[in-house]
Amino acid sequence: MSRGDGGTAVSPAVMSMRLPSQPGEVIDRHTRFTFRWNGRRYPAFDGDTIASALAACGERVFSRSFKYHRPRGLLTASFLDPGCIVQVGDEPNVRAAHRLAEPGLDVRSQDTWPSLAFDVKAANQLFTRFLPAGFYYKTFIRPHRLWPAYERVLERFAHGGSTSAHLPVPERLRAYDKRHANPDVVVAGGGPAGMAAAVAAARAGASVLLVEEEQALGGHLRWGGADELAAMRELQRRVEQTSGIEVLTDSVVLGRYDGNWLAVLQRGLPQVHERLVKARAKTLVVAAGLIERPYVFAGNDLPGVLLSTAVRRLVNLHAVKPGERAVILSANPEGDAAAADLERVGVTVAHVEDVRRGGDVVRVRGRGRVGEVQLRGGRRLECDLLVTATGWTAPVSLLTMAGAVPEYDPRAARFRPDVSRLPGDVLATGGILGDGSLDELLAHGEATGHEAARRARDKAAAVPVPALSVQPHPECFHGPTHGFVDFSEDVSSNDLLTAVEEGYDSVELVKRYTTATMGPTQGKLESVNVVAIVAEATGRTITQTGTTTWRPPYAPVTLGALAGPVREPVRRSPMQAWHERHGAIPLVAGAWIRPDAYGDPADEVRAVREGVGIIDVTPIGKLDLRGPDVPKLLNLLYVNRWSKLDVGRVRYGVMCGEDGVVIDDGVTGRLGAEHYLMSTTSSGAAAVWEWVESWLQTEHADWQVHVTPVTTAYASVNIAGPRSRQLLGRLVEDVDLSPDAFPYMHVRTGRVAGVDGCVVWRIGFTGELSYELHAPASYGLHVWESLLDRGQDLAVRPFGIEAQRILRLEKGHLIVGQDTDGLTRAFSAGLDGLVKLDKDDFLGRPELTWQAENKGHARLVGLRLADGSVVPDEGSQLVADGSRICGRVTSSRHSPTLGRAVCLAQVTASLAKPGTEVTVRLVDGRSVTAKVTEHLAQVDPEGERLRA
């Protein structure tokens, strides 16, 4: 790598292993391009996977193994291949035997330092005694003080490439998408049985989603001979010509959940990196086929040991010659077909070792690749390719998620699903269920698809589909030597024996102890071999041993696909654009974007205290309440008394949960005989609406109250300061603002700035004479600009959230959620005077009664610091006796009005008395003293300014 990443110093690779045109090849020889592999340029044809293009150029090593850093090459030449997981640009963990090559891709091997050819960590191979089964648990335990060091060591054993938080992520990688689908039938698997099922279901009138993991439909027919290819093309034609089938290729059903809710991952889309399709299927047909399993023997991970299906894929799909001289270990017709394929394309087949006649492989030797194979009986053969065809695994995961139990069938040498336990809306067909000729598979698929359509219409009309026959297969899992069982986790058969010797005799325990089946291949390749070896070591049968549990996801999924696109809507008041044009610093507060300040918040505070300011308070929650029973509702919701609220009056109220904890506060005004307007905190608007509705719909369904949320129907402006009456007076036409006609805590409706239907209430969160104006939202900007325009000579200025927070803190008004938390009951929030325990019933009353009796609760108090220049951070602890925590600062700001800090704090009962001296521990470790103030309010505690 030191020679540079551009690859200019090295000449491009050549396709030395590319075969002449094959009848089923998926490459387009007319479209040729190059991409980079570890810095060097490689040619590829359109349709090549990254791995097939590299193999066509004679590359055999694609990665270093996880624990021992052994060189690894192709094994399955499919998505599952554990040996070729690579980094593509900024995207880690790309399956190179599945992902198609593209012009200009920058592909690198993962987790190999300093290079693929020379890997320092391969020294681990020499010291395997340090990495025994369960080494994670044994090695890095004591002493505890070294844990940070262990973490750094273990990090280097982690799977995965790298993503960068600092580099810009390409647009395509950021684009994830979601989609909802409601097909009648989902067919998982587009092999012959799956295609036949999809066609039959669609012909019976069902809408069908056919999901195929590979880039094209066809399943195992794709790498077959002339007859298979002809049958595949006919099936593909039928799928295309039958209306009602939507085909998703390069896609996979990740999981099946309650009610046939399916998570489907769709890849290979042009504009979107990945899409998660949430499909609610009336019927699911699982046609996942079979997965070929590897054979366990010494050297079974050397590059050049391939499964028979890998050979057939390379030769027939990608026209790649996998080697020059092959030995084949065959237990089934697929192995024989692989031998025939190799001979046909000119590979020397030195020997076919037939398991059905007692043949076996003892070991493979070679330096970094296969060089020689030793057969049963000692015969040695030179070769560069060993092909194994020793059996199949049914990927039953989706079926077990639906309730089926895999049962071992010794005749077929594989676990097969017991479908009798499946719910009526899940069916299976094809290789996952049994064997049979192509005609039998197609007939079964067709019958299953027809039945799936019938059940989609009417579950009760279910008719069982006849079973598929099963062909005998020799039970062969491992040879006479030890080899790798889990290639992605580097777990050997010897590790499994060690685990059993140490007492881990259940397959679930062995799995967790050795991490076998827990790597990126998720057990699909290795789990049956694990079970077979554990069964043998414990002297039990495979049936008695059982299999490990298959859980979703069926295939690995990126977090991006699950998270989906970034869609976080924000609400803006009708005046927000004005705020931004006038230099407001935006603040995201809950669902809203709001002005934090337009300049120096201290100047804004002074303007309000000395003249007049206006603030956009549109996000305040607003509920329109109508009906004869509103007073009953208010009495239930609020801790204070509400029965006698005259028309034109406004009252402050606090709501508690049934556990007595403060949940919201605000004012409610009576606009008419049976008409009220309730306000809530901005962040609580949605929750309070649901809270109100819950009581009206459940316990008090007989009350006549109609609730309408009107938060966004009104634009709300608070006009605050000694000159607020003067300013508002210039805009109202039919409301008398004089103190006698419109006193504190009253509400009026009328015409403001020419706008009818405005609600004005006289309240004072800031502690100043102030009016809160609610105007129909579409006139919000007009009213806002009118206030500024008509108040120029009064020096009116807008103020933001920060100034409002300072103003309310000077006045000692609490903010729910800031000065209270999820455990603060009303008597701990300075609300003693408000709670009316003599009311018949209100929410929280029992708990508050007991809180009042106990008296031991924390209190909310004001604090005045001895050194007024110190402004403690919010959250600073109060301590007593040096270190005992006895409270915390909940709100803290420098007060421009008083020229010193003002704070609110939660303190233990014993410290709550005014005048008590407390110690505040600052974040930097210093301690400062403060005194509990007489009132929560430190500016105008008597409230004279409010009532002016």
């Binding site: 309650d258 009610g259 609610r280 509705e693 008090h700 369904a701 029992p846």
Partner: protein, 88 residues
């Protein structure tokens, strides 16, 4: 994901709803002892079997529902408006 039939909106996925837990009768707040009240607030039977629950169709009709559901099979036996009877 469970498909829950809303009496107003028809069958809808569970993620449209808020699950509010087992229905527990509210004791008389005038007479309840601390133990009775805290049982009401915090204790649930958590049965493996048929339970009566409260669901809220937050992303639909915004109605509170009383649902009888089997917690093992997720079968739903009945769905009705809250406050319309059928509650313990």
């Amino acid at each position: 994901m469970i498909l829950l039939p809303c009496p107003w909106c028809g069958p809808r996925a569970a993620d449209e709803y808020a699950y509010l837990g087992e229905l527990t009768p509210r004791p008389d707040p005038q007479r309840a002892t601390r133990t009775e009240w805290r049982d009401y607030l915090y204790l649930r039977a958590n049965l493996a079997g048929w339970t009566t629950e409260r669901w809220y169709h937050r992303m639909g009709c915004r109605r509170y529902l009383t649902v009888q559901r089997h917690t093992v099979s997720n079968d739903v036996r009945s769905v009705a408006a809250a406050g319309s009877g059928g509650e313990p």
